[in-house]
Amino acid sequence: MSPAIVAACVRKMHRGDVAHSFLLDLEVELAPGITILFGPSGAGKSTLLDCIAGLTQPEAGRIAIDGEVVFDSEKKVNVAPQHRQIAYVFQSLALFPHMTVEANVAYGLLDAREQARVRVAEILQMFRVEQLRERKPREISGGEKQRVALARSLVTLPRVLLLDEPLTGLDAELKASIIDDLRAWNAAHKIPIFYVTHSREEVDALGERVIALEHGKIVSEGTPREVLDAPRRRRLAQAAGFENLLSGTVMDLGEPDGVMRVRLADSPCEIEVPLGHAAPGDCVRIAIRAGDILLATEAPKALSARNVLEGRIFTLERRGTLVVARVDCGAFFTVHVTPGAERTLELAAGKKVWLVLKTHSCHFVEG
């Protein structure tokens, strides 16, 4: 069996309200296995899936599935969604409310009745929902609905599976178990799975290849680490969970050492960050995770870390098992510490502290 591949080159005006209209303009290729499409809401992720599924029409471009051209604006090809042989699970799942689980799953099958029954029974078992056969969608739980929606899509043996944030709202454990079942199914069928999410957790959990989309354009592509740890765009940095996003001015470049010094805006603070495409005097943005910053109550000495900033705790807030400190060092930083550290260091608002930032925890953000 040759691997199915989706190739899409799409240009489409994404129409939100005036402020949110932008041109979706990109090229993607999907190999068998999970590819994650990651980006903040309103980046054009669902629009791209709709284009691949044929539910909306790009203004220009070309989409091929498994070698068959399903859309080509130049040759005026536009295959109707029902003939594209793809599966698409929406965020809302869109189970037919008037049908039982079994009828829902059998919907896409045109086989003879007996044959369809067998295939439905197999896939219900594979996704562990065979006991719900006779139930209506409103009588089953959220996780069960997601399993049924996957079974309904996959029973038709699609050439590609599109998933639009199908697991939002489930707890991590349930999510993982559904994804395991999906992986098990795909071990046998080896189709490309295009998984859309705005959740950093899901990107981490799913692994494999990530395409990061913002404002209709691909901003980075690679492994989850590569995409999440080196954000190139400010909004993406926020989506990827960088709590600290600071503007500053480049003071000087230390090219031989691969670093540059940045003076943070409206403050005397200067920090050393990895060298980026910038010249002295340029305005840049630096993204730092709250969990990557060390906090000390005495001036630290003899450290490899190059950035030690003196400041005072401004506020301290307990969030579950996390303590979030806002620290005023001239510029404000958000720092995460554990409740244990809070007790041992006797942290409190107004207390004098030192923040320690490794150079490579500071990410240079373009734009």
Partner: protein, 228 residues
């Protein structure tokens, strides 16, 4: 009480509901899902009988059905007799008069079907016909019942259009509402009252049924004068 007139009215109402069920469904489907830019014009045409005096509609229908009208000529060529003042003529006029009462509830219920369900159906390989039969239709049952019942009830109670195109021929075009009018004219109030009361009871029963069904289906009853 004139049983003959009542039976004629019921026969007329049944014919009209049946025809509107068949004709109204595709019209409503098109109006609910088409993205044609001039669609609003057809929507206005469909709603026209709601605001037009029945006599105006009846007048134009009478002209069209007359020996020199287009409909009348066509009918004469096909069946060898005229259309005005016949039961068939009455059915055609009544169908037009009740169009909004069938089509608007259908549009309303088609439109409430979640579009994502239609997308899901398409992606699962179903063409439009299959999507309509398996998804839209079963989810629109209350709207369909409302459409049937309202076109039946509305035809049962019509007066102006019948008077214009049907005249007053016993057993052919004398419906129950015409009969009541006749009796009042001849000062036979007791008889008029019996028929009127019966019509009132039937109408009330029919409307309670519509509201009851829609309540069970969990949505507000649809009536044209409450339309958006």
């Amino acid at each position: 009480m004139n049983i003959e007139a009542l039976l004629l009215s019921i026969r007329l109402a049944l014919c009209v509901s049946a025809i509107l069920f068949v004709v109204g469904m595709p019209v409503a489907y098109w109006l609910a899902y088409s993205r044609w830019r001039w669609k609003f014009l057809l929507e206005a045409v469909v709603a026209l009988p709601l605001v037009l005096p029945p006599t105006v509609l009846g007048f134009y229908m009478l002209l069209a059905m007359g020996p020199r009208g287009p409909l009348g000529k066509l009918w004469h060529a096909a069946f060898g007799h005229g259309l005005a003042f016949t039961f068939a003529g009455l059915v055609i006029a009544s169908v037009l008069y009740s169009v909004p009462f069938a089509v608007q509830p259908l549009i309303a219920s088609f439109e409430t079907v979640d579009r994502k369900l239609l997308d899901a159906s398409a992606v699962l390989g179903a063409g439009r016909a299959r999507t309509f039969r398996r998804v839209i239709l079963p989810l629109s049952v209350p709207g369909i019942i409302t459409a049937l019942v309202l076109s039946f009830a509305h035809t049962l109670g019509e007066f102006g259009v019948v008077l214009m195109v049907g005249g007053n021929l016993a057993g052919v075009t004398r419906t129950v509402s015409i009969d009541i009018y006749d009796r009042v004219q001849s000062l036979d109030y007791a008889s008029a009252n019996r028929t009127a009361l019966l019509l009132l009871v039937i109408s009330f029963a029919v409307l309670s049924a519509v509201y009851g069904i829609n309540r069970r289906a969990g949505r507000r009853a649809w009536l044209p004068w409450a339309a958006k």
